[in-house]
């Protein structure tokens, strides 16, 4: 296992809305390892995006980290004299992203250390600036490149993300390019920043299926080339299967299960993961209705008692309604937050349909 590059401990984030408090993240623990690709899955509103926005300091104005730490280990001792800097028990210097207060400090992290590819490439580029200008800007901001040097590097990056006729594209404007091309430009901008961690916020949702595959292929390639650590935010399990080393399943502002991709797909332990996987259309039986999780996620304005998924969980135990389960280790790399893993719990078998995933195996890791 590689070294940890990002370590989140007990992270709580609240949003304050007209005098009410929305508890969006409820104690996240997460380690991200250098060079891996981690997928964070979960339905809309589970807190995937909120979690990742903390890493680049772009939480909405009314949101605040109320508790917890986010240790980023990529900057070595650059933050030695910063109040957010520090050294952990093993003597590794880190920067606590939860403690960064000044805008200038974020400017040293955003882009050059941690970068993000936003969801919609159609609106993410400045319509009045040329492609070349927008990529060069990143080069200028982080590497002080100017003039011909910046141009040469920009053309190189354009080739890198497989844009044809880079010289021509350099002078074009975003509206002259297709959606897939714009997504590549956005990726090119991220690459130009040379970050250590790249967060991809549903990078393929806005694209059609063929382009999706190309973009994922490109990301894989760039990841190994630049030794990127990639965090995917997605609710597309197909994307997860094709690219992720590890998977974290989020529900109602908490990570309910995390493990290697194979472990999550083949040996899921949390009832929510079962439900999520069961809703894969590939598992549907001809002539039968596709599986859908009943009910709605809990209201995060109110304090949650016990397991957040209990109300929608057909296998819920009595204790699920009373007390939040701790993490139970399934393997050194796999743990889940469900009372079903407690030794006193009754034996509950995962839905039989999930067994098909094993036989479909090829489809998962193609």
């Amino acid at each position: 296992m590689n070294r940890t590059i990002l370590s989140v401990r007990g992270l709580h984030v609240c949003f304050f809305l007209r005098g009410r408090t929305l508890h969006a993240l409820r104690g996240i623990d997460l380690d991200v390892y250098e060079g891996e690709s981690l997928a964070i899955v979960g339905e809309s509103g589970s807190g995937k995006s909120v979690l990742n926005k903390n890493f680049i300091g772009l939480l909405d104005q009314n949101g605040r980290i109320t508790e917890g730490s986010i240790r980023y280990y990529g900057m070595y001792d650059k933050m030695k004299h910063n109040p957010a800097g520090g050294t952990d028990e093993e003597g590794r210097p880190y920067c606590d992203l939860a403690k960064i207060a000044r805008r200038e400090d974020w400017l040293r992290i955003r882009g050059s250390e941690i970068c993000m590819i936003p969801q919609d490439p159609m609106t993410s580029l400045n319509p009045l600036k040329t492609i070349g200008w927008q990529i060069s800007e990143a080069l200028m901001l982080h590497h002080g490149m100017k003039g011909q040097m910046a141009k040469d590097e920009t053309l190189h990056i354009l080739e890198e993300v497989r844009i044809d006729h880079p010289e021509k594209r350099y002078h074009q404007y975003p509206h002259e390019l297709s959606g897939g091309m714009r997504q590549r430009i956005v990726i090119a901008i991220a690459i130009a920043c040379q970050p250590k961690i790249l967060i991809c916020d549903e990078p393929t949702t806005a694209l059609d299926v063929t382009i999706q595959a190309q973009v994922l292929e490109l990301l894989k390639e760039l990841k190994s080339k630049y030794n990127l650590t990639i965090i995917f935010i997605t609710h597309d399990l197909g994307v997860v299967a094709s690219i992720a080393d590890r998977v974290a399943v989020m529900y109602a502002g908490d990570i309910v299960e995390i493990g290697m991709a194979e472990e999550i797909f083949y040996e899921p332990r949390h009832p929510y993961t079962w439900a999520l996987l069961s809703s894969l259309p590939q598992l549907g039986q001809r002539g039968e209705e596709l599986y859908a999780i009943k009910g709605t996620p809990p209201n995060l304005f109110t304090e949650i008692q016990g397991d957040a998924f209990a109300a929608r969980n057909p296998h819920a135990l009595k204790i699920d309604h009373l007390e939040q389960p701790p993490y139970f280790d399934v393997s050194p790399t796999h743990r889940a937050r469900t009372w079903l893993l407690d030794e006193r719990a009754p034996k509950v078998e995962p839905p039989p349909a999930l067994k098909k995933l094993r036989t479909l195996g090829g489809a998962v890791h193609d």
């Binding site: 772009l58 970068c115 993410s124 400045n126 800007e137 901001l141």
Partner: protein, 314 residues
């Protein structure tokens, strides 16, 4: 682009022609009494003579032909008969135009120099003290009738700053108060719209990407948001442009400025046909040039707008 411009200019000339025809015919529908201040005391003979002198007894089409023949072949705008007795229109307008234009141009320049930075800062400090201060100023300017603060400026400006009350072309100090008064409305206007467009722009996704890229707030405001917010501002250019020549009747009369302010209304009241036609021609030309400039500016600023592409042709 050039082809488009050519087409645009031709169409503008056609528009001018139509405007002139309409105005020409309209002013000739006014009652004959209006042409003669002492109509009551005039005899039948005198009236006939007067109308013949003005050429009003000829058929409309002949009058129209004569007007355009003089205008195009000799650049002759006609002669004022009532506003001033028997003086060529060109001679009356010639000294007035440069004064109004200079006054107006200075005022536009000043309003941009103040209004645009003000709008930018208001957007940058949205919801903070400066924004509230600016909003207060804008509301004040928009809500209080202009004549009121014009008077206040004249009163206190002349009293406290010892600026001469009457306008003299050669005395630069005497320009200060009129230009300042003229600018206030535009400052509020520019600041209000620029703030609004900049706030709109700063909520867009590309600004988030710029932030993710690691661009600082100042860089985002000036290099990304400002230009994008400025594009829709281009539509205000024609009106501003037109206002420079029309002049302000209030301000020009407050400071006794011999400009164009209120001139059109004046000559319509006096039914001085030649003057009306000439002034309409002037205003329409300036208005059309303003529109053209506004469109050109949009094209220069926004690569998505194109004159030459199909469908881009308006």
């Amino acid at each position: 682009m050039l082809q488009y411009l050519g087409k645009r200019v031709l169409r503008s000339i056609l528009t001018l022609f139509i405007i002139l025809c309409v105005v020409f015919i309209l002013v000739r529908q006014m009652p004959i009494e209006g042409y003669f201040p002492n109509y009551q005391k005039m005899t039948e003979e005198q009236l006939k003579n007067g109308i013949h002198q003005m050429g009003l007894d000829q058929p409309m089409i002949v009058q129209l032909y004569g007007f355009f023949k003089n205008l195009i072949l000799h650049g002759d705008l006609g002669t004022s008969r009532i506003y001033r007795n028997n003086v060529p229109v060109a001679e009356i307008l010639a000294p007035k135009i440069p004064i109004s234009v200079r006054l107006g141009a200075l005022s536009i320049l000043f309003s941009m120099l103040v209004g645009l930075p003000m709008g930018t800062l208001m957007a940058k400090y949205k919801g903070r003290f400066f924004d509230h201060l600016g909003t207060g100023f804008i509301v004040l300017i928009q809500a209080v009738p202009a004549a009121v603060y014009y008077l206040v400026i004249q009163l206190y400006g002349t009293e406290l700053l010892h600026i001469p009350m009457l306008f003299k072309v050669n005395n630069p100090v005497s320009w200060v108060l009129p230009v300042f008064s003229m600018s206030l409305g535009n400052i509020a206007y520019y600041a209000m719209w620029l703030r609004r467009y900049m706030v709109d722009e700063s909520n867009k996704d590309y600004v988030t990407l710029a932030r993710i890229k690691g661009a600082g707030e100042n860089r985002i405001m000036f290099r990304h948001v400002f230009r994008n917010a400025f594009v829709p501002m281009a539509q205000y250019l024609p009106t501003s442009f037109l206002n420079t020549v029309i002049g302000s009747i209030y301000i020009e009369s407050l400071y006794s400025i011999p400009g164009m302010g209120g001139l059109l209304v004046d000559v319509i009241k006096k039914q001085d046909n030649a003057m009306i036609q000439a002034i309409v021609l002037l205003f329409a030309t300036v208005g059309i040039i303003g529109l053209l400039l506004g469109d050109l500016m949009m094209v220069l600023l926004d690569p998505r707008i194109s004159f030459t592409k199909k469908g881009g042709d308006r």
